[in-house]
Each structure stands twice: as C-alpha cells, then as structure tokens.
Symmetry: C2
C-alpha cells in the first residue's frame, strides 16, 4: 500500500506519533508506530502504537480503558512524523491519570507538575480478579 | 544542571520536540533536540533544534525569519519527549510556507494536502544578494 510506503520509517522501522485532542487541539502524548501499528490504527480507527518497552503492538487503552478514537491522521512535510487527532476516552491519555502526558512545565530549573491527577493509577489499573 | 539530566536522551543524544501554537494549541511541527539545543532554547526563549540532516544546531527561522518565541516548555511522563508552546513568527512553521508541517491528511489511501501555502518557499528563502 503506497500510503504506508510514503512514510519514512526510521532504522528501527518506527515514526513518532503525536496524539492531540480533536476538539481542543491540545497535545496529549507522543508514542511510536511501526507499519503494522499504523495500518491497524487506520483499519480500526483506534490508536494502536508500537510499545518499545514491551516489544509489541499496544492498543492504547487495552488495560486502562482510555482508548483513543482516531478522527484524523496527518503526515508531516518530511514524511517522518504522524499526528493523530483523537477523541480521548475518559479525558485521560496519561498512565499517571492526567489528561496529557505533558503535565510538567519547566519553571526556572525545575520540571514542575502543573496538571491534576483526574483518576488515580491504582484505580485505573486495578486487578479485575 | 539537573533539569537537563532528567531528560532521557536517546542513544543519539536526542529527544523529539513538538512545537505547538501557544494560543490555539495546534501542533505545528516535530523536530529534535540535543542537550545543547534545549539549553540554548531555554536561555534564548527561542526554539533551537538539532538538525539531523545538517548535523548542527538549527535556530528555527535563521533563514526563513519564521522563528518561534518559546512561552512554555513541557516534559512528558517518560521524560523522553518535549513540548514547546510557541508564538510562531509569520504564522508559518513549515518550510513549504504552510502554518503547520502536518498539512496532509489520510483520505482513503492518499495523503491529501489540505492546508494552503501562505507564502511561497521561493519568496521565503530568496537570496538577499
């Protein structure tokens, strides 16, 4: 499929993917995609990333329930970065229970946390047993 | 400086940096920073990236005039991605003369250009001789 071949995958076969809120435009997170992740994302209209730590496809929300419905997919001018415009389930993109993963701001020489936890991680990831 | 050491630079000493419009939230571009680029960005309050193609620091706007005043710097939950909230000079972040570098949207199996050229690249990069 040509549209997949147009993407300039890096030497690990990945590109960075920015998820932003389709309504507010706010940046929610940055993750990585390989060719399969992008193809599945398009097919399912749900964000699927490549988890570098787990070495497998990661269906965003598979544990937390905080999946992302994908309304638009954009490619940048160099073909090496993707933007997803998403509807974020629960309004929580971050595994810390915050709206955005970018919740720390540089203030002087300190990365200061400035966004609230909306739901505690223990509640998000509690065992269903 | 501890705040620089908290950043998880990759094995090339880089992190991806998302520039977004401080007013609208819109994603403008994704570029890369090394330690020096981030330090200089903080010192100058202007976006300075690491140009992987040129192998040197790249003061955004040094040729085009389309520099970025940095109003906020954010770090993500994994310490391996940066967000800059910027005021974009000329309203043009992309070297193609568009507002955002993410100007193509996947429509069916085609990356369709959906944002207008605000200023032609030949005009932006014309020789001053």
């Amino acid at each position: 499929m040509t549209w997949l071949e147009e993407v300039q995958w890096n030497n690990e076969g990945l590109v960075p993917a920015i998820a932003s809120d389709a309504t507010t435009g706010q940046v929610l997170m940055l993750a990585w995609m390989n060719r399969d992740a992008l193809a599945v994302t398009v097919a399912e209209r749900r964000a699927v990333y490549w988890s570098r730590s787990r070495g497998r496809l990661w269906r965003k929300g598979e544990e937390s329930g905080h999946h992302q419905e994908v309304l638009e997919i954009r490619l940048d001018c160099d073909n090496d970065a993707i933007q997803l415009k998403v509807r974020q389930a629960g309004g929580i993109a971050c595994h810390t229970g915050r709206h955005s993963c970018f919740y720390r701001r540089l203030e002087g020489e300190v990365w200061q946390t400035i966004e609230p936890v909306l739901k505690s991680p223990t509640e998000i990831y509690r065992s269903e047993n």
